[in-house]
Amino acid sequence: MGAHAEFLRASLQDDQLARAVIADPRALADRATDPKNRALVRLVTRVTEMPWALGKRDHQLAKEAGLDDASVLHAVVLSSYFGHLNRIADAVGIDLDYEVAIPPVHAEPATPPYLVPERELWPDPDLPRTLELSLRPGASEALAAWRKHALEREAPLSVRQRSVIARAVAERLGDAAGVQKFSEATPKEELENALVELAHVVTLAPWRLGAETITALRKAGLDGDVAIFDAIAVATACTTFSRITVALAALARD
């Protein structure tokens, strides 16, 4: 948040909105002066916290605020993409390397995890959609190449281990199509259990990612930083893939 609050400040030549984001984004969804900004913050908060709870009403509210379909899609995909970056940054443990005018707040590990949806709340993947990723030129292809790299290699992690992670993330985000695709990939041994635990924290409590995450994977038998990074990067990528799928399916339902 430190870097992007700074970029937001720089883009507006004003720090008021950036300070409000750092202080309390939920309040901003109600109080931002610009209706498009209010709608964006409301939409992105939902995409980040519970994409499975989105519905036609959210799409309608965004439209009424002046955001067209392409803008709503842009916000959904961009926010889902940042879900990956946020999690990688915290798991690897990088330092903020920009000079910032607004100090970011530190993570609070005691924050309760994001909610996991009951099965009956999962959006129907077969419902006709109003927003498709293909409406954004190049996005489907770029995402497919990333997905192939994340899920279809045999090293360092095996395809089976990748599938275990993908299934665990999909279950926690209410991604019915993802769970169906990796239906066989339930954990069967200790390392696979550790990969599910990784997927759990990555998806639902990114503020808990850190040194302990790495130690747990080492203990479970992942050998070396390259393999550990691979496991984390598969999980973080899957949050992006499943989040986009779920959000776009959910936005189409009553």
Partner: protein
């Protein structure tokens, strides 16, 4: 202190060096250049997988380099998401 190894530009070789060089050619607005002059930390965080790095940041260029959302609107999305996920970076 990072929890996993990070290979920066000066320590890089082979495929990773090539990827860093290629990413340097991307048009990066001044606001996005860290003062240390190297690749931003979030790019370096991907250094253990030189194939993944361009896939991830190619997607970024696609999303952050053009509309319909304006630059401030894109950064509002990015900052809000990062704040909710409690990502310090």
């Amino acid at each position: 202190m990072p929890h996993l190894q990070i290979v920066d530009y000066s320590a890089s070789s082979g495929a990773l060096r090539q990827v860093y060089d290629k990413m340097r050619e991307r048009p990066l607005p001044p606001a996005y250049r860290p003062q240390h002059g190297g690749a931003p930390g979030i790019v370096q965080a991907h250094s253990l997988d030189p194939v993944l790095m361009p896939l991830v940041f190619g997607f970024s260029t696609l999303l952050n380099g053009q509309g319909p959302l304006t630059w401030p609107q894109r950064e509002l999305v990015n900052a809000t998401t990062s704040r909710l996920n409690q990502c310090l970076y």
